[in-house]
């Protein structure tokens, strides 16, 4: 297991870049400050208030930059900033002296901001933007050890999978907008009935679920998450347990009032969540790398969370959801940090080697034990309470039996994994030689695990505290009603949930005892099963092969072929447009024209004919000039003096420029051959199609609303009598700015092209 040997080596191999080294504590301090700033919002939000604050961002699109602080988002925001502060403190020490540690701290902080943006967004588009930012920052973090091919692959895989989901999500949001007419969360959440009855409900649900499931790594799109463990441990602790992967779950909870309550919602969430939970807990047993084992238990937790959002109304299920969410974030972040400390202290994360570390690393062992007991769901830890509520909620659900079965199976497996990860490495005898002599980590690395795991115990002993500040407000927000949350109790009497818990413990102990045998059996089985990870590779290979194939077909390396492909496509588009509109009643009539109008038309025709037929450069230039002047005459005849002047001036410059360069180029030679007959047919086809479309356009009455508006407002509002100029510099000034920027860039680019000295490549060199 090469992956299990510490990544410390992978990152430490490079010479340390010390830039920003002294400042790595700053992100942690800022995160703590954000946590402290959010804290005062707690009492009013717990009292049922919803705080909103916002500013217009893109008013014309209805996009506001606004913040929504209610029970759900505040719980998430506190977890993100609180755990963030601890993880960044850990990271500052963990990455000390390693390559680009300053950059690492910056990425981590940026990620935290993006994540806060997701949970606090009050607008679907704002939410989407931050959602994508979390994907991008997580890409940078997973691929942080970019010298390693495996890191790069994992990062790209995570980016592609979550990026595809992100696109689906955007499409879903836009569909929601078409139904509801607003991107504002307040409006969307209040329009649940409209959404559920809309014919677009199913596509919306599928797209939103695609976004949420990819982000929260639900089966069968889960494979990127275990791979993402290629990232340094603080990243795994933060992104891939406590925060980013919960974004999908958060989204489902956020949109719960708007989308939940249908059979499709119920079944898809139950099945995906349940299968993910059980599959992941079985996979977790297989792992020997502690970090991988934790990754799969994270998957299991995500599956469970999705499972409990499936029901539309049960307050027990949602209470269970919120309780488990908080509990899981606390113990999972703690455990990842513990594994990071173990890795740091021993140089390995291989469960087969580690044992008896408690003597060398007492504090770590203490934190691991607390967090592990919480994970296993033993009393009096908060994990026990969460599990009890989950069981109680499961019994209440529409698909109660299925959910209970899923929950029981995955909890028992979780119990066993907790034993493997949290107890086994620390107790008993050393099972093998560790690369580094085990030693305790520094306080910065211990603060996180200890604080988080002690919190898990404290919340277990004082469930009402957790309930008041973290759970109840969230439950109310998810359900959209007040006072719905069920009480969290350490002792609720002998009931079904307690019996189920006891069964879980019994099963868990059996599984733990047999886990080595099970692991080997599963591994033998696993080699025969198709791997989704490898399937993803094949999918990417196929995509690349397809790209290569069409590139070979379309990009032959000959300019004339490129042009031919482009023009054939153009012709197809034009003809398709003609067919789609149907041949309108085009009446060609012999127009009554002034002599000068006939004259101009003939002038342009003659010029065109000369350019096409001549083999002399000078004659062709003259022909171009004639066409240009003819077009300028058209402009001046039909009331466009500004355009005509511009055209004439440009024509002068074109002739000057072309004359300067063209006389230095070799003379034209007549081209013949069958190819030119094809070209001629294509040219005539496109010309004919353009004329036909133009004639049809002219049959349709013109919409002059915009022009009328400009005509009426030009003088009273923009104080200009030349409407064309007013449009250019006032009404559409931003456009004009873009256009002059293009002109300036063309000039600079041509300058660069002409002035750069390139060693002339002789034909012999190329051959």
């Amino acid at each position: 297991m090469g992956s299990a040997t510490g990544e410390a080596a992978a990152h430490g191999a490079k010479p340390a870049n010390r830039r920003g080294q002294g400042l790595t504590w700053v992100p942690a301090a800022l995160a703590a400050a954000i946590f402290a700033a959010l804290w005062p919002a707690m009492p009013p939000v717990a009292g049922g208030e919803v705080l909103r604050w916002g500013a217009a961002w893109v008013p014309s699109l209805g996009v506001n930059f606004s913040v929504l602080v209610d029970g759900l988002s505040l719980t998430f925001a506190l977890l993100i900033s609180g755990i963030g502060a601890l993880v960044m403190l850990f990271a500052a020490k963990y990455m000390e002296g390693k390559y680009h540690s300053g950059r690492f701290a910056l990425y981590l902080f940026l990620f935290m901001l993006a994540m806060l943006g997701v949970v606090l967004a009050d607008n679907l588009l704002t939410l989407f933007v931050f959602w994508e930012l979390t994907s991008i920052t997580s890409y940078l973090l997973i691929g942080f050890g970019h010298a390693d091919a495996k890191s790069r692959r994992s990062a790209l895989q995570a980016l592609l999978v979550t990026g595809m989901g992100g696109l689906a999500l955007l499409a879903g949001f836009i569909l929601i907008y078409t139904v509801v007419g607003s991107f504002d969360l307040a409006v969307v959440l209040a329009s649940g009935d409209v959404l559920r009855e809309s014919p677009l409900y199913l596509p919306i649900l599928v797209l939103v679920l695609a976004g949420a499931f990819t982000k929260s790594a639900q089966f069968p799109l889960h494979f990127w998450l275990p791979n993402a463990m290629a990232a340094p441990t603080p990243v795994s602790a933060y992104l891939h347990s406590a925060t980013m992967v919960k974004a999908g779950v958060f989204l489902l909870a956020r949109l719960h009032p708007a989308l939940a309550g249908t059979d499709v919602w119920l079944w898809s969430l139950t099945l995906f969540g349940g299968v993910t939970a059980v599959f992941a807990s079985v996979m977790a047993l297989r792992q020997t790398d502690l970090k991988q084992a934790l990754a799969y238990t994270t998957l299991m937790a995500l599956g469970t969370l999705v499972l409990f959002l499936a029901d539309g109304t049960s307050s027990y299920a949602i209470t269970g959801f919120m309780a488990f969410l908080v509990t899981h974030s606390l113990y999972k972040a703690a455990l990842f940090l513990v594994v990071g400390t173990v890795d740091h202290g021993t140089g390995t994360r291989d469960a087969r080697i580690l044992g008896g570390l408690a003597r060398a690393m007492p504090v770590t062992a203490f934190a691991a034990a607390l967090a592990g007991l919480s994970m296993a769901g033993l009393p009096p830890f908060v994990g026990f309470i969460a599990k009890e509520v989950l069981y109680k909620g499961a019994g209440e659900l529409a698909l109660g039996t299925i959910v209970t079965a899923f929950a029981l199976a995955s909890n028992a497996l979780m119990f066993a994994v907790a034993g493997i990860v949290c107890l086994r490495p620390f107790w008993g005898r050393p099972r093998g030689e560790t690369p580094v002599k085990p030693h305790e980590g520094p306080w910065q690395m211990l603060a996180g695990p200890v604080v988080l795991s002690v919190l898990g115990l404290a919340f277990g002993l004082m469930p009402w505290l957790k309930q008041q500040i973290l759970v109840s407000p969230g439950v109310d927000a998810v359900l959209g009603r007040d006072g719905e949350a069920r009480d969290l109790r350490l002792w609720a009497g002998v009931n079904l949930a307690l019996i189920l818990s006891l069964v879980t413990f019994a099963l868990g102990i059996v599984l733990y005892a047999a886990h080595v045998t099970l692991r080997d059996g599963l591994n033998r089985l696993g080699t025969h099963l198709p791997s989704l990870d490898a399937g993803w590779d094949r999918f990417l290979d196929g995509l690349k092969a397809l790209a290569a194939w069409q590139t070979r077909i379309l990009q032959s390396g000959r300019l004339v072929n490129y042009m031919a492909v482009t023009f054939v496509t153009l012709l197809a588009g034009l003809v398709a447009a003609l067919i789609a509109t149907g041949p309108g009643p085009i009446v060609l009539e012999m127009p009554y024209l002034l002599v000068k109008e006939w004259g101009i038309a003939l002038l342009v025709l003659a010029g065109t004919g000369v350019v096409v037929s001549t083999n002399s450069r000078i004659t062709a230039l003259a022909g171009l000039g004639v066409v240009g002047v003819g077009v300028a005459l058209i402009f001046i005849t039909y009331g466009a003096p500004d355009v005509a002047i511009t055209q004439l001036l440009v024509e002068v410059l074109v002739v000057v420029l072309v004359a300067l360069a063209i006389l230095k180029l070799p003379s034209l030679e007549p081209e013949t051959g069958r190819r030119r007959w094809f070209d001629a047919a294509l040219a005539l086809g496109i010309g004919g199609a353009v004329t036909a479309i133009m004639l049809m356009v002219l049959e349709v009455p013109i919409d002059r609303r915009l022009s009328d508006y400009f005509e009426v407002t030009s003088w009273p509002e923009a104080f200009g009598r030349n409407i064309v100029n007013v449009i250019l510099v006032d009404f559409r000034a931003l456009d004009t700015f873009g256009e002059i920027a293009v002109v300036a860039v063309a000039g600079i680019a041509a300058l660069a092209l002409l002035k750069t000295k390139i060693a002339p490549t002789k034909e012999e060199d190329a051959r």
Binding site: L660, F719, N722, V726, L728, V729, L734, T736, F737
Partner: protein, 139 residues
């Protein structure tokens, strides 16, 4: 092909065209003209000088490198657009100041719109001269 007649004629023409280009620029808001046309006229003037007396002399007459003119113009246009933000308007909203305005006359109008058009003028002239000079020197 140097010719004394062309050279001295060109000098005169350049001066005339430059004055004319500024005239076109300034009258643009109310009559045919504007930054694009003005810039083109100005560019044609220097192109004539470059052809008649060589780019060396045209560059000297211009004093500033034409690509710098284009970039300065772009910056001026952008500033004119950003100016509106100071007053809380959307970007590129024209801001007007009428000096000595009375009931019937608007006085002397000053506006960011004119500044923007000056930016257009400079970009068009600078970019075209950049191109022409480069082509003439290299070709």
């Amino acid at each position: 092909m140097k010719s004394v007649i062309v050279e001295s004629g060109a000098r005169f023409l350049v001066a005339l065209l430059l004055v004319f280009s500024v005239y076109m620029l300034l009258r643009g808001h109310n009559l045919p003209g504007g930054g694009f046309i003005g810039g083109l006229v100005g560019a044609v003037g220097f192109v004539i000088q470059a052809i008649a007396c060589g780019t060396e002399s045209a560059r000297k007459a211009l004093r500033v490198d034409p690509s710098n003119i284009a970039m300065a113009g772009l910056g001026i246009a952008l500033l004119a657009g950003l100016f509106a933000a100071l007053f809380g308007d959307a970007l590129f909203t024209g801001q007007w100041l009428f000096i000595g305005a009375t009931e019937d006359s608007k006085g002397l109008p000053l506006s960011t719109v004119l500044v923007f058009d000056i930016g257009v003028y400079l970009v068009v002239m600078g970019a075209i001269l950049t191109l022409v000079f480069a082509l003439e020197e290299e070709a």
